[in-house]
């Protein structure tokens, strides 16, 4: 394979027509990944309805989420049709445009809960660039690492990649969006590990990050510091920042083994849990569908991640393989931090549960990440006839 320097690119049979080739490629689409994604999206839609149906407009949020699914899938199909290596060649422009948009958010962004994360798009609503920026960073870092294939013999060999990620990460950190900035860290670590960085070099970078912590702590906003402190001891502030954690645990725990039944969650209806249709949607899954429903959802994520890892393994070139590994790292980190937050083992950082949380930008980003995985998998080296 190509993650490897001795790339043997199997040229497609030149006799085949374009249409026949497209059909052949389409046959290579990973059905398990598609089914897992569809199941996750359907699950999410149901939960969004459950969490927002007792508002004055019961279908308002669900309809918006559905609209974003339609747009996300439509654009995703286009993304699948175009060879993913086109993205690699556009990498430089993507990176610059990404930085530009993230900088623009700081200037014109709309504030939500004390943070500037939104760019208003007039009648189209608003757009959260830090979501799609995650995917852009995966693509551009994969291209960067493919261009510098290593071997990476020291921390110094990793520094160009660190710089690559640090710049947008800093912009997002300033929004401030601590959670998303940490996602970048996870993407960086996952891709570098898969790409061949030595364990001791990665450990060295991690140690460096820890040394930076006091500086970062100083840069955090007051509410972010409070959230982190409250995570260590929720009883510090049971009515303020600790309130969400406590209420979320009560919601999840009271679901017990089989849950209170879909639409029957009292903590959900009572709106005890803040942000319960976005970041805390898993607490409603836990409450209404119980341990069984929670495991089912985690199982779906595991299947999805498995197919992502497999895509990385079969990719025809180093760029595709690393992009797939980056996407897997990104989604895994989201799931762990988000679910961990609702059961009190991770701090509240405000990152959504992929495919499930209400929010168009995040949902479409996840659908396009899936499209990219399908694209990479579909064009792997052995084309079945």
């Amino acid at each position: 394979m190509s993650a490897v320097s001795t790339a043997t690119v199997a040229a497609p049979a030149s006799v085949s027509t374009h249409g026949a080739r497209t059909r052949r490629l389409a046959r290579n689409l990973d059905p398990i990944l598609i089914i897992a994604t569809a199941a996750l999206v359907a699950f999410g839609l149901l939960m969004v309805y459950s969490t927002t149906r007792s508002t004055p407009h019961p279908f308002l949020y669900t309809r918006s989420q559905l609209l974003h699914i339609v747009i996300g899938v439509s654009v995703g199909i286009v993304l699948i049709a175009v060879d993913y290596r086109t993205l690699a060649s556009a990498s430089r422009w993507l990176y610059v445009a990404n930085l530009g948009i993230l900088a623009a958010v700081l200037v014109v962004g709309r504030s939500s809960l004390g943070a500037q994360r939104w760019i208003p798009l007039g009648p189209l609503g608003q757009f959260q660039p830090s979501e799609i920026a995650k995917l852009v960073i995966v693509i551009t870092l994969a291209k960067h690492m493919a261009d510098r294939p290593g071997p990476y013999r020291s921390v110094r060999d990793l520094l160009p990649f660190l710089g690559h990620v640090a710049l947008p990460m800093f912009l997002i950190f300033r929004q401030p969006d601590l959670g998303t900035a940490l996602v970048y860290g996870a993407i960086f670590a996952g891709m570098l590990y898969a790409g061949g960085a030595r364990r001791r070099d990665l450990a060295g970078l991690a140690a460096g990050a820890c040394l930076l912590f006091p500086v970062l702590w100083h840069l955090l906003k007051e509410y972010q510091r409070r959230r982190l402190m409250v995570f260590l001891d929720p009883s510090l502030d049971p009515l303020g920042s600790g309130y969400g954690i406590i209420q979320s645990k009560i919601a999840v725990g009271s679901g017990m083994t089989w849950g209170k039944g879909l639409f029957a969650g009292t903590q959900n209806v009572l709106q005890f849990v803040p942000e319960h249709h976005t970041d805390f949607i898993f607490s409603v899954v836990g409450e209404e569908l119980g341990f069984a429903g929670a495991l089912l959802l985690l199982g779906l994520f595991l299947v999805w991640l498995w197919r992502g890892v497999r895509t990385a393994a079969v990719a025809r070139d180093r760029f595709g393989a690393l992009a797939a590994a980056g996407i897997v790292s990104m989604v895994a980190f989201h799931v762990f931090v988000n679910v961990g937050m609702t059961v009190g083992i991770m701090p509240i950082t405000g990152i959504p549960l992929p495919f499930i949380s209400y929010g168009g930008s995040a949902l479409m980003t996840m659908l396009w990440a899936t499209a990219l995985l399908l694209n990479i998998g579909m064009r792997h080296q052995k084309i079945r006839f």
Binding site: P56, V252, G253, S254, M256, L295, W306, G340, V343
Partner: protein, 592 residues
């Protein structure tokens, strides 16, 4: 890096991911299965109640700071639908206790389905004895809440009722329009008068009490309190003693009185009769009583000063005279002969009771209000010019006063008649219009603004009821001084003839009966024929005649002569305003 080591690393990556998900699963098992009972119990006890803390509505005070509208604390009985155990039994019982219609309670109960945790108000301003009875039956009435909420109090009852307005529960249409501004279902909103126009200043901002309550509905701990912010204070240009004088002078008759500062347009007295006590609406009005009001032939809900148009009779001669003078068709000394009738191509127009004024000049024609003279000059002025000057005086257009649902009235001309009636304009129409009859419809507020323009030298002011908005702590937030709407192009000569004529009306003309010792009053009477009975009586005036400080107008429906029925009202308001009433009654006490 070779393929094998890459795949090995992917295996490790996937193992780490699986491990993380396993950690989550173990934690979920711990929270949901092991500790499930514990958290279920917590969830059961976890009852959140969000109570709206109603903001005290802003006060309305007169120009001297005398309160006209205030608030008093009162009890509201509400229902929390989710805690009602047995509605079949409970709802008729609570309706009986509160003395309200059970069907109404059922309807509100059913409408709350979407938000079962929001209390639904059943009755505001519940008397203490009823509250005591509700408290006694508390055990049998789970979900019934007694809250303390301020109730609007109109201190002088029906005084200035149309101007002040009243409150009512927000309508669905208003709610759709205003939801973005934070209006909530069930909220009280200004429905008329300044209560409606300045609602967003007066309403303040409701607060919120988020609290956990136990299974009995008792407060166990407060989670968050957002205090209510009181509404702003509205300062009116109204002068309470003058307002009381205006209403007393109008008495039981149907009509309107407006007093206004001709320089600024600030309204100092504003009466429309009949009026209702707005306190009736403060706690919600039963629908039967409401439909009775709508059917009342005296139409007490209509604000006669801005929402109704009337023929003005001879008051309109101010317009016709302005046009004739300004066009150079007459001067003060132009001589006319008034035989008591006017012959329009064989059709005879009779003046009142065929009274003949004989030979007289134009100034005296204004003073004695000779219809024959004005019919004569109207032919040379022409309907277009009459209409043009009427519009310049602001007739036929809303004055822009800060009151809702103002009407524009009618200034007819040939084009208007063709458009509305599909009929040609006749010479008789010109004659009728010139003396404020026929199709002319003018609101009392428009008449006040017109006479103000004569008084102030031609400026068409924008009348306004409110003069200032103050914060609850008394700081001025906004001064209300709308710019003039235009300027009536009157030459100094025209103005001086007009003013001399209007002074002569009082010194030796139709309104000689309303002279006030020590105060030179100028004005014009109007007696407009009505199809519905006796004529509409008008008087529009200002004082002092040489340096006008105040205009006052009165209109009385179906009463008789302007000088006899409207003039004395203006006289009495002016006496009060200028402190010329030695035997003035004490400025009435606010009825508690």
């Amino acid at each position: 890096m070779d393929r094998e080591s890459f795949e090995r690393r992917l295996v490790v990556l996937f193992a780490v991911i699986t491990g993380l998900l396993a950690v989550l699963s173990v934690r979920l098992w711990q929270v949901q299965v092991v500790q499930g009972d514990y958290f279920s119990r917590l969830a059961e006890e976890n009852r959140l109640r969000v109570t709206t803390l109603a903001a005290p509505r802003g006060l309305v005070i007169d120009r001297a700071g005398r309160p006209l509208v205030a608030n008093r604390p009162a009890f509201t009985v509400a229902l929390l639908p989710t805690e009602v155990v047995n509605p079949q039994q409970e709802i008729p019982e609570i309706a009986r206790l509160l003395g309200i219609d059970a069907a109404d309670v059922w309807q509100r109960f059913a409408a709350s389905r979407g938000q079962p945790f929001q209390p639904v108000r059943l009755r505001r301003d519940v008397p203490k004895t009823v509250v005591a009875a509700v408290e006694e039956s508390r055990m049998d009435l789970p979900g019934v809440l007694v809250q303390v909420e301020p109730v609007r109090e109109y201190l002088y009852h029906d005084l200035a009722a149309h101007l002040l307005g009243y409150l009512g529960e927000i309508s669905d249409a208003d709610l759709r329009r205003l939801r973005a501004d934070g209006y909530e279902p069930g909220e009280l909103i200004g429905k008329a008068g300044v209560e409606r126009v300045y609602d967003r200043y007066l309403r303040g901002r409701n607060g919120e009490l988020r609290a956990e309550v136990d299974a009995m509905g008792r407060l166990s701990r407060t989670l968050r309190t957002i205090p209510a912010v009181a509404g702003d204070t509205l300062v009116l240009g109204i002068d309470l003693p003058m307002q009381q004088a205006a209403e007393a002078a109008l008495g039981d008759r149907l009509g309107a009185v407006v007093a206004m500062d001709p320089a600024t347009g600030a309204v100092e007295a504003f009466a429309s009769h009949p009026a209702l006590d707005p306190n009736l609406f403060s706690a919600g009005i039963p629908s039967a009583a409401w439909s009775a009001l709508l059917r009342d032939p005296r139409q007490p809900l209509i604000d006669r000063a801005v929402q109704a148009g009337y023929p003005t009779g001879s008051v309109f001669k101010i317009v016709t005279a302005s046009a004739a003078l300004q066009l150079g068709l007459v001067t003060a000394d132009t001589e006319f002969y008034d035989p008591g009738y006017y012959n329009l191509g064989g059709r005879i127009f009779h003046d009142n009771e065929n009274e003949s004024f004989g030979h007289l000049n134009f100034l005296n024609a204004i003073a004695v209000s000779s219809n024959v003279v004005f019919w004569t000059i109207s032919r040379s002025v022409g309907p277009e010019h009459i209409s043009e000057y009427a519009h310049q005086y602001g007739l036929g257009a809303r004055t822009g006063v800060d009151l809702p649902d103002e009407i524009a009235g009618v200034v007819p001309d040939p084009a208007w008649k063709r458009r509305v009636y599909h009929q040609p304009w006749y010479a008789g129409d010109t004659l009728n219009t010139a003396v404020g009859q026929g199709y002319v419809l003018v609101t009392p507020m428009q008449a006040a603004r017109m006479i103000a323009a004569v008084a102030n030298g031609g400026t068409l002011v924008t009348p306004h009821i409110a003069v200032e908005i103050r914060s609850p702590s008394g700081q001025v937030i906004q001064e209300i001084a709308p710019p003039p709407a235009g300027h009536v192009p009157l030459s100094p000569q025209t103005l001086s003839v007009l003013r001399a004529g209007l002074s002569a009306v009082v010194t030796r003309g139709t309104a000689a009966s309303i002279q006030i010792p020590g105060l030179a009053v100028a004005g014009k009477t109007g007696t407009a024929e009505s199809a519905h009975g006796k004529p509409y009586a008008w008087f529009v005036g200002y004082a002092p005649a040489d340096n006008p400080k105040l205009v006052v107008i009165a209109m009385v429906e179906n009463a008789g002569y302007g000088a006899e029925f409207a003039g004395p009202i203006v006289q009495r308001v002016l006496e009060t305003a200028f402190g010329l009433t030695p035997a003035a009654p004490p400025a009435g006490d606010p009825k508690p």
